[in-house]
């Protein structure tokens, strides 16, 4: 199948994958570090294991980013 991930077409040998499986293949170190948008809709994290993607789906992997001013725990 061909998926559009972050604006780029990517060909994968699989016909279908769950979001969790796709994150594994794309080597996302931890599913907690991203929000996933599938065809314009943000998915809930609990949907990662059930939602299935196939040919033509458009995904955005939106990574949490902190940055700026750090703060110590005290």
């Amino acid at each position: 199948m061909i998926l559009q991930i972050n604006g780029r077409n990517e060909t994968l040998p699989e016909d279908k994958l769950t979001i969790s499986e796709l994150l594994g293949i794309k080597k996302v170190p931890d599913p907690g570090m991203i929000s996933v948008q599938l065809n314009g809709e943000i998915l809930e994290r609990v949907e990662f294991t059930s939602k299935v993607v196939g040919d033509g789906d458009e995904l955005e992997f939106l990574y949490f980013m902190g940055g700026g001013s750090g703060r110590e725990c005290r």
Partner: protein, 280 residues
Amino acid sequence: MDFSNDQIERYSRHILLKDVGGIGQQKLLESRVLVIGAGGLGSPIATYLAAAGVGTIGIVDADVVDLSNLQRQILHHTADVGVMKVESARATIESLNPDVKVELHPYLIKAANIRDIIRDYDFILEGTDNFPTKFLVNDACILEDKAFSQGGILRFKGQTMTHVPGSASYRCVYRQPPPPGSVPTCSEAGVLGAIAGILGTIQAAEAIKYITGAGELLTNRILTFDALTMEFRTIPVKKTDWALPESRGGKSPENLVEYEQAYCDLETARAERKAAGFVS
């Protein structure tokens, strides 16, 4: 309008702009903007807002300047190490532009104080390194009907979005803070100093656009960039129930959530996950 000759000269490049002009410059001089975090993002934000003649800039930060900050936090200079960041920020801003009044908030943002702090400002910019504060700023701005800019950076990447009342919020993209330990911070993973400049100046431009009414804001979109490829993308984001508070039929929390303790627990959890190989 009542500009001095010095002001006409100082702001001449703004006044020349059709979308700013004398009227826009007057609005900037009368505006009140709050910068939460005087760090990597807060530095370019506050510097450009000061240069632009934003009349009152509030700075929130409870930290002192550390030597490791100076690679990107351009509000602070070598002689400022050990000085409160808000004090250092005030000195830099006042030397840049005496038109600017600086208000200092040298304490941590909490659920208990944030609404009172943001209430007095026209626009809020968030540039903190921790997710409890990012969510707190988002939630409080929604309750107070405030426009704000949210920014994040890591390694060579940055992302930002602007919210105005009724547009998509940070929670429309990120429902809740990441699980403890799942996201590395800049202090763990590093960040290119110039990335803070790129992202922070985008946020400053949004604040200036909001105040002057110029152009279209970065609302209902999230901008991401990767400096390694210099690709910039804006991704449309749909407004959801999270853009409105519970009292107005939405899901954004009415009682502000204090994620503070969870964040501190997170430091321990993160170290454990790192040791177990979950985080690169």
